[in-house]
Symmetry: C2
Subunit: 280 residues, 2 copies
């Protein structure tokens, strides 16, 4: 898809307003109306695609903003990776890349979904933000038994502005030696493990900052953490706009997401759902 | 990954408790401890993999629960699809499949991510739940200009228990003729468009139910909608456990996700972030 081949040209309901109008008009402007404005706007200057863009089909838009790498490994948890990817990918000129041990499809813990790693770890030396998602048990165990992967995390971490994790991704950061003696969080069910195994001071908060290390609680907490990161990277106004763009005004129909307030029965059932939904 | 090749067998910290223990013990049980229990549990009876499982590498676990299909099209919005996939994939025996016009990788609106469609639309006749994610402008316009895709949606819809959308996915359902005269929601910026173009009665709620049609607001709202769906499909207790499993106790650092409360400046900036982050 490029702007040159914008299908709106043949669409029955074009709204050929100029882009300036799109950015300043009020209620009449809709996201879909924006399609027309993009089509009518002058084409931006093209730059030469970076090698990985040419190779992978990633897009050619200007990417002078923060460089964000999301690590994928077999058995990662889908939303751990995709929630922050969605938020951070909306920042101006952000370059968000999914990175695997090798390029190619990486399947999630449930086995239901494969996401493509567009880059391999040996192609990536520098990142502004490294994010390590959590995963199913087998996936996390395989990751922490993988010295090459842990070495890469340590190497990239040296130069990051932020090294971050979601859910049991903090177990992987801990196994890489990055969380020893630090305050950090993880999925509620892994709190004791990370404390006893890695000497991490578990904190039952949505996200925890310790220097440039930023860890978040289970799965969905990565979205909240990513909004904080967005503010750090692009300013609070942009972070607030990203939140509005994603209409993140959460209103779950139930109020059952807090482990500290949950019954033991519900905790057991939650763990059983996790275990049974994990591919094996 | 199969249980037969569980890497835990060689892991330095095995915790070989029995699965029964995993399900009934209290604080000492962690998600990672669960790894050992899975490894130690007797292997479940195997069934023959369904043809699409054998072809795609999807997993072999029992799938007698609800069959959920997530439609992917070029330019879909990542979190629209993956938020509900994460929730619904945790339901007992749920069979969640990502479906494209053809099998293969489908890239998101930002161009940053490719997700694999494991099935093609012509392989899928019956679903308990159809979910149509929203997308970038070009992606949605291409989808509503695609009669074959709209025909497939209409055909599958005849037999669904629930036909659902996230964000501008409701524009696609509307273009398929499924929302005419109905109450529905969409991304705040597409509210006027869907009303004026398709005769839909827009409702500014997180999700809106109209018969078996269930639409949700922008992007992140799909997670909230999926929890309601989870309760409908598997009962409220399971839905609550899924919420706890995903630690969905949202606490964004800002309170800027509601368009009705946002300034015009913030709305304009949000629309600009969406436009500029969309691949072109």
């Amino acid at each position: 898809m490029t702007r040159d081949t914008h299908p709106h040209a043949t669409h029955p309901n074009p709204r050929p307003t100029h882009r300036r109008t799109f950015l300043t008009t009020t209620a009449a402007t809709t996201v879909l109306a924006g399609a027309a404005t993009l089509g009518a706007a002058p084409a931006p200057a093209r730059r030469e695609p970076a090698p990985h863009e040419a190779a992978t089909g990633r897009t050619e838009r200007e990417r002078n903003g923060p460089r964000v790498g999301i690590l994928l490994y077999p058995g990662f948890t889908l939303l751990d990776a995709t929630g922050p990817t969605e938020v951070l990918g909306r920042l101006p000129d952000a370059d968000v890349a999914l990175i695997g041990e090798r390029r190619g499809q990486v399947r999630t813990d449930t086995g239901d979904v494969a996401v493509t790693a567009d880059l391999a770890v040996d192609e990536v030396e520098r990142l502004d933000v490294l994010l390590v998602p959590g995963g199913g048990i087998e996936g996390v165990v395989a990751a922490i038994d993988n010295p090459a992967l842990l070495n890469w995390i340590r190497r990239v971490h040296r130069h990051t502005r932020w090294t971050t994790s979601v859910c049991t991704g903090s177990v992987i950061l801990a196994a890489a030696g990055l969380l020893t003696g630090r305050r950090a969080t993880t999925h509620w069910a892994s709190a004791e493990y990370i404390e006893s195994t890695y000497g991490v001071a578990y904190v039952a908060e949505r996200f925890v900052r310790s220097g440039k290390l930023l860890t978040s609680a289970g799965v969905s907490a990565g979205i909240d953490m990513a909004l904080l990161l967005a503010a750090e990277l692009a300013g609070e106004e942009v972070a607030r706009a990203a939140q509005l763009a994603l209409e993140y005004d959460p209103a779950p129909p139930f109020d059952s997401g807090n482990a500290a307030e949950a019954s033991q029965e519900l905790r057991d059932l939650a763990l059983r759902l996790l275990a049974d939904s994990t591919a094996g």
